[in-house]
């Protein structure tokens, strides 16, 4: 199961499933039945059966991610989560790896700012072995000292090697710029300075602080039978509940005027560019409207940014805008890349598209088209039980009701041109942008002067 990539799938949900024999319209389809139960220790479990493939998946989401790292201990949640399968119960790290592999399976864990996702999937003939392994890892990690040191060393390498991947490196640096001053501006993996001193004691403390059944949602998906409810009780019954402190709120002050920064690395052959601004949190009432607006700005091939910067001007292979929404804050991130002699032209044209968008709004035709795309692709967002479960679990992380999914099509349809243009005028801020360039500054000449005053930083 590709959970990492699933996280990229739009947080939509919705409908569907009962098999019929003739084509249907999206409006006609209903949410697949999901059973939710809460076990005695507070563990919430979603059961979503699907017998079309001989496959079973387990996924757990905890509403605690890197934003819960104590100040100065950035990277702690990622480190702890990466250690879960490095030895559990009486098994060593390599025994755990072998046990999963023997079933044709593997364990995946990822930490985002607001949540952590753990998952595994395998052939349903091995469902009980897989469940036992998954539960062992989640509830009985060993956190052996030598594993802590080994994983820290791997993290440090990963951090250093990231600068060889221009796209991901620029993504990270831009998040730090945009959300500077809040927990969301901190790197999820931590830094050399914060990881170095982390100890086994801190790892264990972090685990017991957040890894509690009453702070977790588990989903069981796929080809299982009625015994699974009891099996879950058995596998997770010994997991002890405890109070979990919710993370403190974290905000960022919007900048006054646009801010520009360039990070320079010798040898780069292409420039990475981010242009972004602050936005809204996930549970904001205007979320759906801003999502719709984003489709028109830079959400697909027909978007304004793509049509102008890629198709008309040939400046890039890819440009898109992404609506980022966290628990307390959010942002809009336009990202692209271009050849190093075209950086200024790319930035200026992108900002012009953003400014026109904000000042003039969109047309009735654009609204209808963006609605059609969101509604037309909605079933794909919940096509598989894995996608449906992930959507439902993440809605719970952000305190958004399942009606988001149930009423998605109705609510998208209800957005008017006036609503949308008011939303765009209110939230898009062409004069409060942060711009980041990751390039070889020497290759750029003086072109950036036409954009603004750049703060320069060498790697």
């Amino acid at each position: 199961m590709k959970w990492n990539s699933l996280i990229g799938i739009l947080l939509m949900i919705g409908l569907s499933s009962c098999a019929t024999s003739s084509p249907r319209s999206p409006q006609a389809f209903r949410l697949r039945p999901v059973e939710q139960r809460t076990y005695r220790n507070g563990l919430k479990v979603l059961f979503i059966p699907d017998h079309t493939l001989p496959k079973i998946s387990f996924a757990m989401v905890l509403p605690s991610g890197a934003s819960a790292d104590p100040k100065g201990e950035e990277g702690l949640m990622s480190l702890m989560v990466a250690l879960l399968d490095q030895g559990a119960a009486a098994k060593s790290a390599m025994q755990v790896a072998d046990d999963f592999a023997q079933l044709g399976s593997s364990f995946h864990a990822s930490v985002a700012q607001d949540y952590t996702v753990l998952s595994t999937s395998g052939l349903s003939q091995y469902h009980s072995e897989l469940l036992d392994l998954f539960a062992e890892i989640v509830t009985k990690p060993a956190f052996q000292n030598e594993e802590v040191e080994r994983k820290k060393s791997q993290f440090l390498s990963k951090i250093q090697q990231l600068q060889d991947q221009p796209g991901p490196y620029a993504d990270l640096k831009f998040s730090q710029e945009l959300y500077q001053g809040s927990v969301y501006g901190r790197p999820i993996l931590g830094t050399e300075a914060t990881l170095g001193p982390l100890s086994r004691t801190q790892v264990i403390k972090q685990y017991f602080e957040y890894f509690r059944p009453n702070n977790a949602i588990l989903a069981v998906m796929g080809d299982f039978d009625d015994n699974m409810r009891a099996d879950i009780g058995k596998a997770f019954g010994g997991w002890v509940k405890a109070d979990v402190t919710p993370p403190p709120k974290s905000f960022v002050q919007a900048s006054s005027g646009n801010q520009y920064k360039i990070i320079s690395k010798p040898g780069l052959k292409q420039a990475q560019i981010h242009i972004g601004q602050l936005g809204i949190p996930r549970n904001h009432p205007d979320f759906l409207k801003l999502r719709l607006a984003n489709v028109i700005l830079g959400g697909d091939f027909a978007s304004r940014l793509n049509q102008k910067v890629r198709d008309d001007l040939g400046l890039t292979y890819s440009i898109s805008s992404q609506l980022e929404t966290y628990r307390d804050i959010g942002g809009v991130d336009v990202s692209t890349f271009t050849r190093q002699d075209k950086v200024a032209e790319t930035i200026l044209n992108s900002i012009k598209v953003i400014r026109d968008f904000q000042e003039k709004g969109v047309t009735e035709e654009e609204l209808a088209s963006a609605k059609a795309l969101m509604i037309g692709q909605f079933p794909a967002a919940i096509e598989t039980v894995d996608r449906l479960a992930l959507n439902m679990m993440l809605l719970r992380v952000y305190g958004v009701s399942d009606s988001y999914l149930r009423d998605y099509i109705k609510n998208v349809n209800a957005i008017t041109l006036k609503d949308l243009n008011e939303t765009i005028a209110r939230y898009i801020k062409p004069d409060q942008l942060k711009v980041l360039v990751y390039a070889n500054e020497k290759e750029l000449g003086s072109q950036l002067k036409s954009v603004g005053k750049f703060q320069s930083q060498a790697l």
């Binding site: 590709k2 990539s5 499933s17 098999a19 003739s22 084509p23 249907r24 319209s25 493939l53 001989p54 390599m94 790896a97 999963f100 592999a101 023997q102 079933l103 044709g104 399976s105 593997s106 395998g122 052939l123 003939q125 080994r150 791997q154 390498s157 990963k158 250093q160 090697q161 600068q163 060889d164 010798p266 052959k269 292409q270 697909d300 091939f301 027909a302 793509n306 049509q307 890629r310 198709d311 008309d312 040939g314 400046l315 890039t316 292979y317 890819s318 898109s320 990202s335 890349f337 050849r339 209808a368 088209s369 059609a372 795309l373 037309g376 692709q377 079933p379 919940i382 096509e383 598989t384």
Partner: protein
């Protein structure tokens, strides 16, 4: 996750008047191996113009995945115009007779449709994911660009800048892409696999419309295409639509294709590239076999034993025990023509390659001298089974799996039959293919290292 738009292309074609449908029996693709049971309907037939049509009905969501793949890739290019297949794929989005370039993206979005395409060494594929009600629209649009692509010089002018950026993104500014290009260019000296699918920059900058049109006219034909429709449709009315739209396309004889046979290397070759990187990376590569070759199944399992996942032999040694590598992988790349067996690793920053290389060589030698245990063999077979199941999660993945098997083997049913072949591989087979293909004296080593 960032969305990367990969514009690619497609097409379809051909025909004679009212095409007769050559119907094959309705098939049910099914796998029933070692406890694994998968069953879904698949029907294949051919129009009289040679277009292969595969239908797989699935009403789980009100959507259709529509794939059009052509048997043309970068291996069909000349060494003087590398990347032409990929460039043409891009131009397929720049308009045809009925639907202009700007109209194309706009109309798709207005109708709730997403789309993309890709080019490989051996084939080019285009696909759309659409609401069920939009099937006829997509056929009309696909037939339009299959039959009468615009290929206007002004569109090409801006699109070759786009592809130039794509090349920088994939290769020139990407250490992994550079290393792969170095490795393939060293392992292959005669066969077109020696150049990258995206092409060399000097060729990208110099494409001309007339040359691309020749390429288009030669290969974008119904008798060179496979159409896969999977999802929420009615088979009987869909067949009528396919006939209505596609049977008007004329077929033409395909050019005779003689791909040169790559001779064995006479001695091992070592190539090093210095770059602005933090860590050393290495690929050890051997000439491999083509897709479907009898030895390809055992070679896939050898790759899995050596370098698939954290429980693989090399990951345990290099990443976990010795803690010298950041990651390691092994893969058996099979194409329509013989591909490559590769082991790749990236060191932690500051570390040299010698120890990792020594260990890797020793693990490869072990594959040639010691039988893999039954337990380890079952492990890698289970991984293959799981990969097959994971490739069928969505209607789009089903369509892809059917298309690739049909394109490579002329038989989508390989998707189901190959598991039997994996299951019958023995430990002795792993030993034998390791001895036969992983010959150190014929190995290419490609290295990327930090500039001094």
């Amino acid at each position: 996750m960032k969305k990367i738009f990969q514009k690619k292309i497609y097409k379809i074609i051909r025909s004679s008047m009212l095409a007769h449908l050559f119907l094959l029996p309705v098939l049910f693709g099914s796998i029933s191996q070692a406890g694994l049971k998968i069953h879904f309907p698949v029907e294949k037939y051919q129009l009289s113009n040679g277009l292969t049509v595969i239908l797989s009905e699935d009403h789980s969501v009100p959507m259709i995945s529509y794939h059009t793949w052509y048997r043309v890739g970068s291996r069909d290019e000349s060494p003087e115009m590398t990347g032409a297949a990929h460039m043409l794929e891009h131009m397929m989005f720049k308009g045809a007779k009925k639907y202009s370039g700007k109209d194309f993206d706009r109309i798709l979005q207005e109708n709730g449709i997403t789309n993309n395409a890709f080019t490989s060494f051996d084939y080019t594929g285009f696909y759309e994911n659409l609401p069920s009600s939009k099937l006829e629209l997509i056929m009309d649009m696909e037939v339009d660009r299959m039959r009468s692509l615009a290929l206007r010089p002004e569109d090409l002018k801006s699109e070759l800048q786009v592809v130039g950026e794509e090349r920088r993104w994939r290769v020139d500014n990407n250490p992994g892409g550079l290393l792969r290009e170095l490795m393939m260019g060293t392992l292959f000296k005669i066969h077109p696999y020696r150049w990258p699918t995206i092409g060399f920059m000097k060729h990208i900058q110099a494409y001309k419309v007339d040359k691309l049109r020749e390429f288009y006219d030669k290969y974008y034909l119904p008798n060179n295409a496979v159409l896969v429709i999977a999802g929420d449709f009615d088979p009987s009315s869909t067949k009528k639509l396919v006939e209505k739209y596609y049977s008007q396309l004329p077929s033409r004889p395909l050019p005779k294709r003689n791909y040169p046979v790559e001779p064995d290397l006479k001695a091992s070759v070592r190539k090093t590239l210095a770059w602005d990187v933090q860590s050393r990376s290495e690929v050890m590569a051997f000439k491999g076999v083509e897709s479907g070759h009898a030895d390809s199944f055992a070679l896939d399992l050898v790759a899995a034993v050596l370098g698939s996942g954290v429980s693989s032999r090399l990951s345990k040694k290099l990443v976990y025990e010795k803690q010298i590598a950041a990651n390691v992988n092994a893969g058996n790349m099979t194409n329509a023509n013989p591909g490559a067996f590769m082991v790749m690793f990236t060191m932690k920053p500051g570390l040299g390659l010698a120890e990792a290389e020594k260990i890797t060589r020793s693990e490869i030698e072990k594959m040639k001298t010691e039988l893999v245990s039954e337990k380890e063999l079952q492990k890698v077979k289970n991984q293959v089974m799981m990969d097959t199941v994971e490739g069928l999660n969505t209607i789009d993945e089903k369509a892809q799996s059917l298309a690739i098997n049909e394109i490579l083997f002329g038989n989508f049913d390989r998707l189901f039959k190959d598991l039997e072949k994996y299951n019958s591989v023995t430990a002795q087979d792993l030993l034998r293919v390791s001895q036969k293909y992983l010959v150190m004296e014929k190995m290419v080593t490609a290295i990327l290292e930090p500039k001094k």
